[in-house]
């Protein structure tokens, strides 16, 4: 093999660079975030329940919000009837964020942890916050 020294040295340098992020972050997993439900609006609720049950909201809120969006905007249907038969006004800013008035704690914490960047916030914003 020609240039054996250079090739092996190059391979070693490459593998060090390639493996560096894995080695550097080894054993320092960031803890699973626990989104805070602690807002004045939620505290004031007699029955602490979202539009649907908690497990459903955790696992399905992305599709759920997409459905809400299409219903409100495309079909012009602003009322949602949940599994218990209760009517809810369909609106991200005026329904969801009314109770969950802590977007930073409630939305952003998990989204940052999972490295997802939902495009909701390109236009919608937390009406309770002072900033856009």
């Amino acid at each position: 093999m020609y240039d054996r020294g250079k090739v092996i040295a190059g391979l070693v340098i490459f593998s060090i660079i390639f493996l560096f992020p894995f080695l550097y972050n080894h054993g320092s997993a960031s803890p699973q975030p626990k989104p805070s439900l602690d807002t004045p609006a939620i505290k004031a609720l007699s029955q602490k329940k979202c539009v649907e049950d908690k497990q459903f909201m955790i696992t399905t809120h992305m599709q759920f919000l997409n459905d809400w969006r299409d219903q409100a905007l495309r079909d012009g249907n602003r009322w949602y009837v949940n599994k218990e038969g209760k009517k809810v006004w369909i609106s991200l800013q005026n329904t969801c964020l009314k109770c969950h008035s802590n977007k930073k704690e409630f939305c952003d914490k998990c989204h940052n942890y999972a490295a997802v960047d939902p495009y909701c916030w390109d236009c919608h914003y937390d009406p309770n916050g002072s900033k856009l």
Partner: protein
């Protein structure tokens, strides 16, 4: 190629038989599907025709009383609308976003402009999206981001808009504005100077087209459009499909103009003169 006449005829005959019995072959493999499809198609067309002849139950329309409109009222209407929908006021004209704006007779009615009409020439006109019955913007939108609702409102879905601006080219009224820059940048500047944000309504993002939405979000709550609330003696909003509605009564009594009627877009914004 070595093929005698006999063999050729055999293959040709067999192929024709298969070709002719295409539907038969379908029947063998998936019985009933061809008939179902055909029936479905016929039904769909029939349904459309039926709807057209019966007409919609609700057809929203806006009436603007030009005789009652003043510069001050026009400004108040514009401010109310732009506050309600968080429309930024870009200082540079080329970035301008407008939902409702003031212009002169000459520019509003380029088709029927009458230079000897001294009365109309001096009047302020408020221009906005005409929510056409036959909207050209909807026809050209490649992603169906803009669409006509059953109540006649031409809605814009910012989630879908890809910013191609075909709709802007298609709209004969210049009712559509493109967000060349992030509208929040300008809104933040204005907020720092004391502008209020309508926290019930979102903003837009860079790269989407926007326009007047006939206050669809307020209609859903049972309210009247913001401009009507700002100047109830100038703007009238109502159901064109209902012969006894307020707007139909006014249209029976007053002379009205509509912009660029010859294009066949059938606008639903009327100017009372």
């Amino acid at each position: 190629m070595s093929m005698d006449r006999r063999k050729f005829l055999k293959i040709a005959g067999l192929s024709t038989l298969i070709g002719l019995s295409g539907k038969g072959a379908f029947e063998l493999l998936k019985p009933g599907t061809v008939e179902a499809e055909m029936a479905h198609e016929a039904e769909g067309h029939g349904h459309e025709h039926h709807e057209e002849s019966a007409g919609p139950k609700v057809r929203w329309a806006m009436l603007i009383d030009i005789k009652a409109l003043t510069k001050e009222k026009a400004e108040k209407i514009r401010e109310t609308c732009h506050f309600l929908h968080n429309v930024p006021n870009w200082p540079d004209k080329k970035n301008e976003i407008k939902w409702i704006w003031e212009d002169e007779y000459e520019h509003a009615f380029t088709d029927s402009y009458n230079e000897y009409d001294e009365i109309l020439k001096g009047m302020p006109f408020l221009l906005m999206c005409n929510h056409c019955d036959n909207p050209p913007c909807v026809r050209v939108c490649p992603v169906q981001a803009t669409f006509k609702r059953p109540d006649g409102i031409v809605a814009q879905d910012y989630h879908r808009c890809i910013g191609c601006r075909f709709c802007m080219a298609a709209c004969p009224y210049g009712s559509r504005s493109f967000n060349w820059l992030d509208p929040r940048v300008q809104l933040k500047k204005e907020i720092a100077k004391g502008r209020k944000l309508n926290k019930r309504f979102p903003t837009r993002m860079r790269g989407v087209v926007e326009k007047c939405n006939f206050c669809v979000e307020r209609l859903a709550e049972g309210k009247k459009p913001g401009c009507v609330e700002a100047a109830p003696d100038v703007m009238f909003f109502g159901n064109l499909a209902d012969a006894n509605s307020e707007v139909r009564k006014i249209l029976r009594e007053r002379i009205s103009l509509r912009r660029k009627l010859e294009l066949g877009t059938r606008p639903s914004v009327f100017y009372l003169i």
